[in-house]
């Protein structure tokens, strides 16, 4: 039994929207981070879907790149969050506004 492609793409769109809303409405840096990951993986899903449709491997290769970059980004992002927490006892992104003009 094979699931038709539009369903995958719909799922991907839903995931991306969820991630976007998460980034916009949540104030905890960790949740914002997870939402960003959600958006990245929604994009990964579209890549794989389209790769399958086209019968090539380009999209799948690209997914690997995204995964690697995302992993690196998580490492750095989490390190920053830990440091912010140590310095300011908070991970609320609205409290971190040192560069406000």
């Amino acid at each position: 039994m094979s699931v038709p492609a539009p369903l995958y793409l719909s799922l991907s769109a839903v995931l991306f929207a969820l991630g976007t809303v998460g980034v916009l409405v949540r104030r905890s840096a960790l949740i914002v981070f997870m939402s960003v990951e959600l958006m990245l993986n929604a994009v990964n899903l579209t890549f794989v879907t389209f790769a399958r449709l086209r019968g090539g491997v380009d999209g799948q290769v690209l997914v690997f790149f995204v995964l690697v970059v995302a992993a690196a980004e998580v490492v750095i992002g989490l390190a920053i969050i830990v440091n912010i927490f140590r310095a300011r006892e908070t991970v609320d992104v609205d409290d971190v506004d040192l560069l406000r003009g």
Partner: protein, 639 residues
């Protein structure tokens, strides 16, 4: 004769030594170095004179090329010194009188804090002046010309904490700079006409290159004369010299009487071959000189300040020198330059001795009766005064008489009459100065004066109780100058043929002077001596015994304002210049600066508004990003 290069070099070394390390070796060391270098330069000058005299008359023109200074296309300017009878005479005057004044200064400035600075400047001045007189072309002369101007400024404003002195220094610098513009343009014109500014070449080629009375010759001579006017304080650029008396008195003697102010006369004699091609310019020189002579003599009549009387007297005597060179009596001009250097330096140093005795007073209304406590000073000042008045047998008589008879013999009877009248006035004002200073009982102090207070207490007063004679280090130079004043007339002592100085200068200015055609010489001398004696008698009757009285307030006002020449300049030149400066200031501040500043203010204001965008809310940034993406997508999709 290359060792002549040591003449300017020695004082220059003295300047470097005292300027760099003058604080280290104490006052005695400073004075020794400064006086020693000038005396040594004088000795070298004597040696140059001796070896010059051993040459045949036609060969007394030695050019010393030190190095090639600049070369541009066809124009080459070597660093060239020129040793000939004219420069030898000038070297001896500058170093001789200069050495005496250096020695005098060691006593006069003994209590000054800036002893080393003073002597460093004085040595630099001497070096510049020697460069000027030894220059082999106009460009090298210009170095010395500007150098002496700089030192004049530095030394007038020597006591720069006194506002009057600082202002006087600036005034001297700016007014002479007006003349220097003319001098510089004259140099350019000389390059244009001759392709060089070398004195030897110009003297040789003047007749060939310049048509007699042509525009080029006239313009060249008048431009150079403008420079001479500024440097030698002739009308209309005279007004810096009376104010220059703010400087120390030996400086007034050296720079503003004996040497620097005569540079203009020397320059014209040096360029005499060119001036001979421009009769009109020579007439201008002669008339300017004669008018200045009588104008300054009249101004000196009512001046209450002893040093300023001498300053006006210097201007007047310089007028005589220009009268001399204007009528082509080059030798007489240099002769009067020399004798004037003797007796005017003498008068200034004696005046300095008076100031020393009185703790710095220069106002003659507060002096009087000083002949008793200061016999030597009174006697030497008297000798200088008689020489200035033109009484035989002092030096001033011979040189002044030579000038007047040259003017008469050339047919300029009007110039001769003006010069004679100025000679009479000269006798009156110098007798007045002598009487007020040394003879009349001391006055009660300055009367209220229309011209406002003259500066009292110029020099550092060291609590002098009673007037006393100056120490020997100051007395001896005065006496030496007095001896020169008595004997100096011998340089030109002759009634029928050219005098010794004239004969010595002959190779340089051979083409120049009018033939003293003899005839009536005795009458002329009798007339000028009579006028001088009459002036002395009048001065004595007015100021000494009070027999002659009466003066008009209007005349007094005219005289004490120097015929309102300076007020005229203030109204016509200075006030419009100030107005223009004010307008430009406004334009610059409000126009140019305003445009730049308002652009800056606009950008600053815009930045202030844009700053609000940077709110610091991460989620707001993300929202803006999202909206942007949506807008882009909408655009693509709808396309």
């Amino acid at each position: 004769m290359t060792y002549a290069v040591w003449i300017p070099l020695l004082p220059l070394l003295g300047w470097v030594a005292n300027g760099v390390a003058g604080g280290r070796w104490g006052r005695r060391g400073v004075a020794t170095v400064a006086c020693g270098t000038v005396v040594a330069a004088f000795a070298v000058g004597l040696a140059v004179l001796a070896s010059l005299s051993s040459l045949p008359a036609g060969a007394r023109h030695v050019e010393i090329d030190l190095y090639r200074w600049m070369a541009a296309g066809p124009i080459t300017v070597p660093m060239r010194l020129l040793v000939d009878p004219l420069s030898a005479v000038m070297v001896l005057v500058v170093t001789g009188v200069g050495a005496l004044i250096h020695i005098y200064s060691a006593g006069y400035m003994a209590d000054d804090d800036a002893f080393a600075r003073y002597f460093a400047y004085l040595n630099l001045f001497t070096a510049s002046m020697l460069t000027l007189v030894l220059a082999g072309n106009l460009v090298v002369m210009f170095i010395g010309w500007e150098g002496v101007g700089l030192c004049s400024y530095l030394l007038i404003a020597f006591w720069f904490t006194r506002p009057a002195a600082a202002a006087a220094g600036v005034k001297a610098f700016i007014v002479t700079r007006l003349g220097d513009v003319g001098f510089l343009l004259g140099i350019f014109l000389a390059f244009g006409v001759f392709g060089t500014a070398d004195f030897g070449v110009m003297t040789r080629d003047a007749a060939a290159r310049l048509p007699l009375g042509g525009t080029a010759a006239t313009a060249l001579c008048l431009l150079l004369f403008l420079g001479a006017c500024g440097k030698s304080a002739q009308l209309p650029l005279y007004m810096w010299l009376p104010d220059a008396m703010e400087g120390p008195t030996p400086v007034s003697a050296l720079i503003h009487a004996a040497t620097m102010v005569t540079a203009g006369v020397f320059m014209i004699v040096r360029m005499h071959a060119v001036y001979l091609r421009a009769p009109l310019a020579m007439d201008v020189v002669a008339v300017t000189g004669a008018v200045t002579a009588i104008f300054a003599a009249a101004s000196a009549l009512v001046e209450p300040d002893l040093k300023r009387v001498l300053a006006y007297s210097t201007i007047s005597q310089l007028g005589y020198m220009f009268l001399a060179v204007g009528v082509g009596a080059w030798g007489a001009g240099i002769f009067h330059l020399t004798s004037h250097a003797f007796f005017k330096a003498l008068l200034f140093l004696a005046a300095g001795s008076v100031m020393h005795a009185l703790g710095g007073t220069t106002d003659m209304r507060r002096m009087g009766g000083l002949a008793r406590p200061l016999p030597w000073t009174a006697a030497t000042f008297g000798i200088g005064a008689l020489a200035l008045a033109g009484i035989p047998p002092f030096a001033g008589f011979f040189s002044k008489d030579q000038i007047l008879s040259a003017a008469f013999h050339r047919g300029d009877v009007a110039l001769w009459a003006v010069g004679l009248a100025a000679a009479g006035l000269t006798a009156v004002y110098i007798v007045r100065a002598f009487v007020l200073t040394f003879l009349t009982p001391a006055g009660p102090g300055p009367r209220p004066d229309r011209r406002g207070p003259t500066t009292p207490q110029r020099e550092p007063a060291a609590g002098h109780a009673a007037p006393h004679e100056a120490p020997p280090i100051m007395g001896l130079p005065i006496q030496a100058l007095a001896a020169l004043t008595v004997l100096g007339g011998a340089l030109g002592l002759s009634f029928t043929q050219p005098g010794a100085l004239d004969r010595f200068l002959a190779p340089v200015v051979a083409a120049g002077g009018p033939d003293p055609a003899g005839g009536g010489e005795g009458t002329l001398i009798a007339v000028s001596v009579t006028v001088a004696l009459a002036g002395v008698a009048a001065g004595w009757l007015i100021y000494g015994t009070g027999t002659l009285r009466g003066s008009s307030a209007a005349v007094r006002a005219w005289l004490s304002h120097q015929f309102y020449v300076e007020d005229f300049f203030n109204a016509v030149v200075a006030a419009p210049a100030r107005g223009l400066a004010w307008a430009f200031d406004l334009l610059d501040r409000e126009g140019v600066d305003g445009a730049v500043m308002s652009i800056g203010r606009m950008i600053g204001w815009g930045g202030g508004r844009l700053r609000r965008v940077q709110s610091g809310y991460l989620r707001q940034y993300a929202a803006i990003l999202l909206i942007g993406v949506i807008v882009l997508l909408a655009y693509w999709v709808s396309r």
